[in-house]
Symmetry: C2
Subunit: 380 residues, 2 copies
């Protein structure tokens, strides 16, 4: 970590900034919430892909890490935790083999998810073949309609029984991701979806118990549902990702104030025409996301402020279109000279991190570190 005592205004643009104090406060808030309910926090690394941020999360009490991709998870295997959940259905031998080899090499506590009998078969086969033990969560679809078995599906019971009778596998419990919370129109709907998620999981737990199958753990994820502050009794762990950064989506959902957004993008006015300021942040920095999980809840591609007027209402501008390396800001009733620094709240923080190799970390607008995005662009 390099120490650089310069103003964030001095960065070359476009550049992704992380406000360290806000990042820490977000981490404390969510970890504090989890502590109140004695629930483990197992952050999803897909949002930050950073060894530095993972180290902070673990120092602050995270009980392990979550990843979606095998190659991304691998970046974190030799760190301060041995406990991982790969919250993605693996159905191919070579990916499972990679996970199992690492599980052995680093003595990991490895949790996989299964949402099909075919998926179970291949995981079971590979564990048996390599003589390695791991834990299985059955993934339940709580409404996103992506991966997971819907509640009431008889395969839930069949897979649970198979796992229980398998010498190499342990039934960890049930796991879900209520990603459809990103399609909620307001905080009440967020709360409703978050409560429904728990109801569905408790119903599946009850159903399994009717067949004498104990659900040891229930693992849920998604930043919005946690920010809604619902009662977590009966839950074992949460797997938020985005909470370290927050973004325009979480703000739009009414879950945070803009001061809680840790990730911003610094850019510069490079040209002007009658209708637009043109800035040097385009889709290759901000992404074209207008929501998460295809939710499209936002208009435009981010909110922009002259950097020296950041978060001042009267100076808020809209990015209404993006080329790859240019953003189009609707001209407000004030003018800005070419070269003016523009600070942006992106729609969705996660893809923004995925588009850069490093993050400029500042405290009260003074640059303190440059953190690498270690797990970006990895392939097996």
């Amino acid at each position: 970590m390099k120490i650089i005592d310069k103003e964030i205004l001095s960065v070359d643009t476009p550049r992704v900034l992380i406000d360290y104090d806000v990042l820490m406060s977000n981490i404390h808030m969510v970890h504090g919430y989890a502590e109140r309910y004695q629930v483990d926090v197992r952050p999803h690394v897909k949002s930050h892909k950073s060894l530095d941020i993972a180290a902070i999360q673990l120092e602050e009490g995270a009980k392990g890490l979550t990843a979606a991709k095998v190659d991304e998870a691998a970046v974190f295997f030799n760190t301060a935790t041995k406990s991982f959940t790969l919250a993605y259905p693996l159905t191919e031998e070579h990916k499972i083999q990679r996970i199992l080899s690492s599980t052995r090499q680093f003595s990991l506590d490895m949790n996989l998810i299964v949402d099909s009998e075919e998926g179970y078969e291949v995981v079971a086969l590979m564990c048996k073949r390599l003589g390695i033990k791991l834990k299985i969560y059955i993934k339940i679809d709580v409404g996103l309609k992506r991966c997971g078995l819907p509640p009431g599906d008889p395969r839930i019971l069949r897979i649970a029984r198979k796992v229980l009778s398998d010498g190499h596998l342990e039934l960890a419990g049930l796991l879900s991701h209520a990603g459809h919370v990103y399609r909620a129109g307001n905080i009440d709907e967020v709360i409703r979806i978050a409560r429904d998620e728990l109801k569905i999981l408790f119903r599946v737990r009850k159903y399994l118990l009717d067949y004498d199958i104990e659900t040891k753990r229930i693992s849920i994820g998604s930043t919005p549902s946690l920010l809604a502050g619902i009662d977590l009794q009966g839950i074992s762990e949460i797997r938020p990702g985005n909470y370290v950064f927050m973004d325009r989506i979480t703000w739009k959902l009414g879950l945070i104030a803009p001061e809680q957004i840790a990730l911003t993008v610094m850019s510069t006015v490079v040209s002007k025409n009658k209708n637009h300021f043109i800035i040097d942040a385009g889709s290759k920095v901000l992404s074209s996301d207008t929501g998460a999980h295809g939710s499209k809840i936002l208009e435009g591609y981010g909110l922009a402020y002259p950097a020296e007027k950041y978060l001042e209402e009267d100076y808020r501008m809209k990015i209404i279109s993006l080329s790859e390396e240019h953003g189009f800001i609707e001209r407000p009733d004030f003018d800005l000279p070419l070269g003016t620094r523009i600070r942006i709240i992106p729609n969705h923080a996660c893809p923004v991190v995925n588009l850069t190799d490093s993050l400029v970390v500042h405290s009260r607008n003074i640059i303190r570190h440059v953190w690498k995005v270690h797990a970006r662009g990895k392939v097996l």
Copy 2:
């Protein structure tokens, strides 16, 4: 370059594939077209960001390279060409200083663009301060309404005169990018926009000539307008980028057949539900683009085929939504087992390359090389 004689079906997914034969044929087609009109080709590296592809373009007759970002251009300075156009308005001293230092270090033939008097002033100041000479194109807005001076703007003449009287600057000519061609509904509209671009530039050239100012060169860019095959008489050079790959946009515009698309993404069915096949290619591989320059001309996020039925009409499927690491394919009237390889034609090739560290290059579906995406994620 590693030589790997495996089927593309064997790649770990998601992975970006380049069909070498199609790539070469695309390069030959556009370079042949330029040759017919004795026009220079100066490819834009933003699409591929690859030293390997740039080397091919230069071998095939490209007269230099174009880049948008200083840090991206820098990756190509020590290669088989000395001639560069930075087709992006630079208004900041430190960026211009970086370009000028490299111009001196590598003895480059450097062309910058200017679209404001303030921009001219800072370029002129830095060239004088460092005692370095370079060429200036005046950027003309031909309808994209992004950067560039609109035809008829008196600043065009003022800047031309200032450049001509500056000891360090040479007036290269006029430069444009008709990016609004991506908003065209069909090939006729593409042709109309491409012809209008030339008319506008010729009008500006005539206007300058009325003041005894000679426009040495006219440089235009954009793959669609070139694919439309308009008459290039009077043009000095073209700066296409996307043409090496092509994508669903160029296909949709009616400019190519799908067999001319060199870039595809290999993915895998990882889960299934009632309505969707879930694949392991999401917005972090495909991007959320539904057009270029915010054009939104496409529905969904790419076309998908079972890899062994690639381009067979009856097997074409639609990717209708994306999470970060998952794609949702609308279930067709046939079933596919988990683990099936899915080959995707992305909406927009350029952001896809920007999302990966390497490209798997194949010939007739046999992997031949893995090329690095050298200029991705660079910062000053």
